[in-house]
């Protein structure tokens, strides 16, 4: 009997692996920056390019760092979620307008609302590379010590907020 069971068992194991593989998203590349210090940067602000913002200013605060652009399609989907989050006043959201023109970025925020505490611009995408950005939108949770604790690849959704991001923020803020 075992003699006939073995090929079946092996087949089922293989089928199981392939089934799990089908469900994985190959575009979600795990970031090596998790639990590493967030790369430091100093960039001009969107609304007032003469003023600079430095990531060092955020020491001692838990914050969300959201990479977006006016040309980004999924950002449209994400925008209302961020607006709702901003109204709750739980965590400051800092936006990085990635490889965008200032006019376009500002127009986008005028039309759809501005959930950000502050927006900075990364016109040539250098800071994006430093953060390992490869698809917009991406969102980082950064803790009081300036360490990246979580990275959301793709749009932030109500589910990912409830299940991952908000519990993590609560935990980090309590520390």
């Amino acid at each position: 009997m075992m003699r006939y069971m073995w090929p079946f068992v092996i087949f089922m194991a293989l089928a199981g692996f392939l089934y799990v593989g089908l469900g994985l998203n190959p575009h979600e590349v795990p970031s090596p920056l998790i639990n590493k210090p967030a790369p430091a940067f100093t960039l001009p602000q969107l609304h007032d390019p003469a003023k600079q913002f430095s990531s060092q200013d955020m020491k001692g605060k838990v914050w969300l760092f959201n990479v977006w652009a006016s040309w980004c399609v999924s950002c449209r989907e994400e925008h209302p979620v961020l607006m709702a989050l901003a109204r709750q006043n739980i965590v400051p959201i800092y936006g990085l307008d990635y490889k965008d023109r200032n006019e376009d970025g500002e127009a986008w925020l005028r039309n759809g609302g501005d959930p950000y505490t502050l927006v900075i611009t990364d016109a040539d995408g250098r800071v994006g590379i430093d953060y390992g950005v490869y698809g917009v939108p991406e969102t980082y949770v950064i803790d009081k010590q300036g360490v990246i604790r979580y990275k959301q690849i793709g749009a932030v959704t109500h589910e990912s907020l409830q299940e991952k991001i908000l519990p993590l923020i609560a935990e980090l803020q309590a520390k």
């Binding site: 190959p26 575009h27 590349v29 795990p30 970031s31 090596p32 920056l33 490889k99 040539d124 995408g125 250098r126 994006g128 590379i129 430093d130 953060y131 390992g132 490869y134 698809g135």
Partner: protein, 155 residues
């Protein structure tokens, strides 16, 4: 005037062609080094293309980043280390041997070994099995008649 215009239109392709070479850096040696390095790196956007051949914006930016770092005098290994620290081992087409890639690297050899052991075990078993019994004279006779039967008698 008309001829001048025609001449100008004819020259358009040459002008547009000249525009394409702009992605190349001024330094051909550095450019070659960059392409050699980028061929072994994966583009994060179109994942089965190398950084050297991809036309995505991110790949362009990353090629520029590699160029800049080379101009700063960083070695190829330092640049690779930088990109790995930002994007992970995923950017390498040649995955390094690590604890979680052991199965990837040595799994096929393990399977080969299992197959070989199985084969040897099977062959041994067959050897130890009872040898075929000899036919008695009577049986040999019967076999011969059966084998020599004309084909049409089967119908």
């Amino acid at each position: 005037m008309k001829y001048l215009l025609i001449l100008l239109v004819c020259l358009f392709p040459t002008f547009s062609h000249a525009g394409e070479a702009r992605d190349l850096a001024d330094d051909p040696v550095l450019e070659k080094r960059m392409v050699n390095l980028a061929q072994n790196l994966r583009c994060l956007v179109c994942q089965n293309e190398s950084l050297a051949s991809s036309h995505s914006d991110l790949a362009k930016d990353l090629r520029q980043e590699v160029r800049d770092q080379m101009q700063k005098g960083m070695t190829d290994q330092e640049i690779i280390d930088y990109l790995v620290s930002r994007y992970g081992d995923f950017v390498l087409f040649d995955p390094p041997v690590k604890s979680y890639t052991l199965l990837l690297w040595y799994g096929p050899f393990a399977l080969l070994l299992i197959g070989l052991v199985g084969l040897v075990v099977q062959l041994r078993k067959r050897k130890n099995a009872a040898p075929e019994s000899q036919l008695s004279a009577e049986e040999a006779q019967r076999a011969a008649t059966l084998l020599n039967q004309p084909k049409d008698s089967q119908t």
